[in-house]
Structures are given as C-alpha cells and as structure tokens.
C-alpha cells in the first residue's frame, strides 16, 4: 500500500538547502555543548571557562560542517532517488544513506568505502524501520471504530 507523500517537507530541490542548514545548526549547537563540556572537564581548575571556549571554538564548527555535508549529500541523493524512481519509499532513504556514506569515504579506497556505505545503509534501514514501527503503533490508536447504530423500529407495513 503506497504511503501518502510527506507534505511537511518543502519540495525537492529547495529542501536540500533547508536540510543543509538544519544539519549544520544541529551539529554546531550540539558540538558546542559537547566540546564545551569536554573542554571544561579537561582543563585545570582555574581555566575551565577559557578551556571550554577554546575547545568549542575549534571543534564545534567542524562538527557542524561534517553534519552539514552529511545531511546535504543525503538530501541530494534522496531527491535524486525520488526523481529517478518516481516513488516515495523508505528505500529512497536507505539507498541515500548507502551512497552518502560511500561517497564520503571514497578517498580511502574502494574496500573502506564499501564498508562505510554498507554501514550507512544499515543505519538508515534501522531508522526507517523504527519510524515505520512507531507510525504503526500510533496509527493503531486511531483505528476507525464502526459507530453503534441505534435501534430503529422497522417501518410498519400496510
């Protein structure tokens, strides 16, 4: 049974930039928190705040950039698959994860790239599977119930 198309996302070429920005924001903010805490923990007691600042200034933008590249490439391949197959499927996402991880590891040689690609595909398959399971669970609560019909006296015949 075909899934209804997702109308909460913008149409395909434009959504790539939105995904780029959103991934960058997530990576940068998350990286800021993570590396800030890490930098504070790894600094001597009087120097915690400068240590946190230095660590997050150096690492958080890099993490943001990595997330952005991953998200942007993923979205590009996703849009490409949707255009190629003319279908909206979980398979699009799985194939996009496969391709993205493979391309990002391409400089390390074909074997590493293939392994990365396989891991990326499996990761996306897990995410899509969880998504389907959750949507099935939630949809079960909204199952339509047939209304109770009131007792109607049959029409008197004459």
């Amino acid at each position: 049974m075909p899934r209804s198309s997702d109308h909460s996302r913008d149409p395909c070429p434009y959504v790539i930039f939105s995904d780029l920005g959103a991934s960058f924001a997530m990576g940068a903010v998350g990286g800021g928190v993570w590396y800030g805490i890490k930098g504070a923990k790894n600094s001597p007691r009087g120097e915690r705040f400068p240590g946190a600042l230095a660590s997050l200034k150096a690492r958080a933008p890099v993490l943001g950039g990595n997330f952005a590249v991953w998200g942007g490439l993923f979205s590009t391949f996703d849009c490409g698959m949707k255009g190629l197959r003319q279908k909206e499927d979980p398979w699009n996402s799985i194939a996009s994860g496969f391709l993205t991880s493979g391309v990002l590891a391409a400089r390390s040689g074909p074997k590493v790239a293939l392994t990365s690609a396989a891991l990326g595909g499996v990761f996306l398959a897990v995410i899509e599977g969880l998504g389907i399971a959750i949507s099935r669970l939630v949809a079960d609560q909204n199952r339509p119930m047939s209304p109770q019909l009131p007792e109607i006296a049959p029409p008197a015949s004459h």
Partner: protein, 207 residues
C-alpha cells in the same frame, strides 16, 4: 400512515418513506442525471470564469511571495525557522564553494609535479583545507546572525532592518570575542555594516 410534520408535533417521530412516494416508473438515471448547478452549492463555485480556475496562471513571481516577516521579497520565507535553515544552508554552501574554489586554484598553482595523480591529490588537499574552514565559519556566522535576528525581532515585537544591524554587530562581536576587545569591536562593526547592507539592500530592491 400519514407523514408527521415536524413543526406540528412536540415529539419527534421517525419519518419513514410512505408507500405513496414510490413511483414504479422511476429509474436510477431520473434522479442521477439532473443538471447540477455548483453556484447553488457554494458561493465560491464557478471561480475563474468560463475556463475554470487555471492554477498555472496564478501570480507566482518571486516578488509577490512573502519574504521573511511579511512583505514580499525575492527570498521567500515563512518565518524564523525558514530563515535559520535556508539562510544557514545557503551561506554554508556558498562559503564551501568559494573556499573550495580558492583551494582548487591554490592547489593547481603549488603542485610539486605535473603528473595527474599528484596534481589531483594536491588540488583535493587544497580544497579540503580551505573549503570547510571558510564554509564552517560562514555557517556559524549565519547561524548566530539568524538566531539573534529572530530573537531580537521577537523581543521587539516587530521586524526592522535595524534588527539586522544589531544582530550583525552582536554576531561579529561574539565571533571575535576571544581575541580581545578591539578585535571584537572591529569585527562587530564590520558585520553590522554588512548586515545593514544586506537588510536595507533587500528592502530597497523590493520597493
């Protein structure tokens, strides 16, 4: 059995079709094929004249799409989240491309050997050294600017190009805050001017 009239009776009795309503000469087509007039069904029926509403003719120029915070703009956006994601994404990819181009030419120029593989490697190294650095910095600046702009706009209650100038100044100052007061001040000034040009320029282009 006579039909009950709803206005006459105090209690409502179910109305059944009476025997006299059945006409054995009725066919399905006699009640299905009556011409239906959509204008009687809904006041907005029949919009678009004789040819019907042609959605392709609707005005969809970029100049009439809503920009950030209302008013039409070349860069349509539906609010602060659109500003944040699209703005950061576009800035990041622009920074990445420009930095990558810079690194590309730098690698081409400084390659130690004319062999293709070595040149390719040098060029790729140059691109991956310059591109992400400029891209990341541009992205962080855009993120901070859009965040502060949205926050200031919501705090003030209305949106102004002046918000952008303030947001630009704060962004530059925070970005260079660890390099000392003077560096923060000058960076804040540069970014405020840039943000002002961007905001007032967008407003000017749309008038």
């Amino acid at each position: 059995m006579s039909r009950t009239n709803i206005e006459d009776e105090e209690t409502f009795e179910p109305i059944y079709a009476a025997q006299e309503d059945f006409n054995p000469n009725d066919t399905v087509s006699s009640f299905l094929n009556t011409a239906y007039d959509p204008a009687r069904l809904h006041p907005l029926a029949g919009l678009g004249g004789g040819g019907g509403l042609d959605y392709l003719n609707l005005e969809d120029d970029a100049g009439t799409l809503p920009g950030a915070h209302g008013g039409s703009s070349i860069l349509p956006s539906r609010g602060w989240s659109d500003d944040l994601t699209y703005g950061t994404g576009l800035t990041y990819i622009t920074g990445l491309t420009l930095g990558g181009a810079y690194g590309f030419f730098e690698g081409l120029r400084s390659s130690p050997s004319p062999a293709f593989k070595i040149r390719l490697n040098t060029v790729l190294n140059g691109m991956t050294r310059r591109g992400p650095f400029i891209g990341n910095s541009a992205g962080v600046l855009a993120l901070m600017y859009n965040g502060i702009n949205g926050g200031v706009g919501r705090a003030r209650g209305h949106y102004d190009p002046l918000n952008s100038v303030l947001a630009g100044g704060l962004t530059g100052a925070i970005f260079k805050s660890t390099a000392g007061l003077r560096a923060a001040g000058s960076a804040g000034g540069v970014c405020a001017v840039a943000a002002g040009i961007w905001a007032y320029g967008k407003e000017a282009l749309n008038l």
